[in-house]
Symmetry: C2
Subunit: 410 residues, 2 copies
């Protein structure tokens, strides 16, 4: 098999861990696989480099910053290739540019425009284990870019897609995707498999995989195994074939997991006159200020005015209020109310989209624990409630029980 | 003026020092100069990276190691460009490859084959202060190489030569070139100027400039100023025009400085039959083992046999004895004697080459202090004695006085 692997920074935090990972890569090679491995920067290297940049410059230049940050992965990929060679395995390291990762010019959060897999493929064909620096690419003008947080996941899936690899394996410090956050729900259980769309909803709601990598896996149908780099567990396979494995009915008719997120703040704009264009005039300046708005709830209009509620991350709250203030005045609103003591709680499962009753079971389970629901939104495969942060663990446990998520998967 | 500067690692050890150097670069720009600055890796970065490589691999692969080490200078050059931009100066960083530093393929100690100054020059013409990653280059096959210890000095002089710059300024943690090592000779004095050849002899004998950078300065006639990055002293100008500044007689008729080196071990091969090819058969295997041989003394033959003495660094002594052993047996020698308690002591000055009497004054000064001379070698502008290490400070002071090196330069 042709396998693309990815190891994250916590799996590469020091020289011993690098050697350990080299051993794991070697075992995959010994098993007869052709292996391309994408590595992140060691441990907290990226944060340290950002800290350094902030100490020399008030606003580090984006182009320079990307070159700076790209060095972290160059260090880890060369070390990994050395470690493998010392163990007697032919290996070569490639920078993102050498590996053919082509991006747009959005420094700091570049998007992959294409993969030119020629160099990787010829190194693989020569018998090399190829180690690729993750998180980075190169523009048409040969400038170095970085892909933003979690970018190495995206590098790995993009290379797997570009090479037509059989599988992408993402190794991290946890042993897979869980039915819920184990810190909140002690009975949370590792999932053997999950669909791309379900994973996207979980990824957006607390679990640790870069959503862009899941989207790319979905688009190019690359199965992604998420597993631990420290143990030999089975991990969780993210794939698009949940509907096709014979077990359709049972699997679709389920909630797959509980997502929680406590980095949530709510802003309500009171008494907005309900006319076309209001929402746009509110959310356009937020988008321009690069503030991500998540849940949006607009109540039905009463007396020609309505209340508009939306959430942002807590870190963005103060800035969001600043941006919104002049708009609120222009709209003739009665003012804004904000709350940063809320948490987001979701049930996720592709089986929900054509089976009724999930919402009512969710609300009943929360009511039975006297947990008040602040707001509700839904997507096709997700139902989300805002609840008080102090109750989020109780709420998640209650839902985990109500949907029998601790039972073994079929 | 078009000026190429170079700052070493100790001048860039932390964020504050980077900002401080940025201020110095900015002042040179404010004075109306076009500035290209070459930087080393911050502080002990290179040693730390080598340490890391040695912890993951017994024998780090040379090609991978060079990519690894090259990241140190990428970090410092991007930080410097950011710091300058924050101060309002247009600035751009370039890797060795982008700066057009072309090298041979000797990983870890590559030699510069040429400089393609197009990119640097166009950035300078656009008004940018260009910051270049030192110590690194790129081969014809686009592989990254490093130039070995002190390689950033060579980068700077090569760029100055390639650009036809007016001057190369090397900033370091001392304020210039001294008449002797101040730790041994308290009355040692900074030189205002020194010739390339003299500097080469001093560099080879303890003072801290990469000899390759001096050779390159001499070949392309690039004046090199060595000065402190922490103070505003005048520094020492290394140049080729000592003979042409009107003050010829006085300047040529002098010893310029005292060089000392304690990393010396001596090997004597006893009773070698004196026939052609003996020296070659002894020194070829040493060269193959990458052991640098310095002083070589062969006494006149007595009874058809001779003793052959040479020095290596102390760190190479054990390995050198191993390499020499089989040759010694094959030559029918009576065996080897080694001594690692010696030091090398030299007087250097281009004025010595056509003025007699310097050797006798040197030997007299040492004799007056009861310092025994083990061996003597000379070049056109240098006389070197091996003396006991315990006496090297006394010996250096005696010579400093004898040649009146504490008197102001004419």
């Amino acid at each position: 098999m042709l396998i693309v692997q990815k190891y994250g920074g916590s799996s590469l935090a020091d020289a011993d861990k690098v050697r350990n990972v080299a051993g794991r890569i070697a075992r995959s090679r010994d098993a007869g696989n052709q292996v391309v491995t994408v590595v992140s920067a060691m441990g907290d290297t990226t944060d340290e480099l950002i800290g350094l940049a902030n100490r020399v410059a008030e606003r580090p230049d984006a182009r320079e910053l990307d070159v700076l940050l790209s060095t972290g992965e160059l260090v880890s990929c060369t070390l990994m290739a050395m470690a493998l060679r010392t163990m007697g395995y032919a290996s070569v390291s490639l920078s993102g540019a050498q590996a053919g990762i082509l991006t747009d010019t959005s420094y700091g959060r570049a998007r992959i425009a294409g993969v030119a897999p020629g160099r990787i493929m010829s190194e693989v064909d020569e018998g090399n284990i190829v180690i690729v620096a993750g998180f980075q690419g190169i523009t048409e003008d040969m400038d170095i870019t970085t892909l933003g947080r979690g970018g190495s996941d995206t590098t790995a899936v993009a290379i797997a897609a570009g090479l037509g690899a059989d599988r992408c394996e993402v190794y991290t410090d946890v042993d897979g995707i869980y039915t819920a956050d184990p810190r909140l729900v002690p009975r949370a259980r590792r999932l053997d498999e999950i669909g791309f769309e379900e994973m996207l909803e979980l990824a957006s709601y607390g679990a640790k995989m870069n959503p862009r990598s899941i989207e790319m896996g979905m688009r190019y149908n690359v199965p992604i195994l998420v597993a631990s780099s420290f143990t030999d567990g089975k991990g969780t396979l993210i794939h698009g074939e949940v509907d096709m494995n014979g077990n359709v009915g049972e699997i679709r008719n389920r909630v797959r997991g509980i997502a929680t997120d406590t980095n949530v703040a709510k802003i309500t704009v009171l008494g907005v006159i309900d006319r076309p264009g209001i929402a746009a005039s509110l959310f356009e300046p937020l988008a321009q200020a690069d503030i991500s708005v998540d849940v949006i709830v607009q109540n039905a209009s009463v007396d020609g005015t309505t209340d508009m509620t939306f959430t942002v991350t807590r870190t963005d709250l103060a800035r969001a209020l600043e941006v919104v203030q002049p708009v609120v005045e222009a709209l003739g609103s009665r003012g804004t109310v904000s709350d940063d003591s809320l948490a987001k709680l979701s049930i996720v499962g592709s089986g929900m989209q054509d089976a009724p009753g999930y919402a009512s079971r969710m609300f009943r389970a929360l009511a039975d624990k006297s947990i008040n629901i602040d707001s509700i939104t839904t997507s096709e495969i997700r139902i989300t409630c805002l609840v008080n942060e102090s109750q989020v663990a109780d709420a998640a446990c209650a839902l985990h029980d109500a949907f029998q998520l601790d039972a073994p998967q079929e």
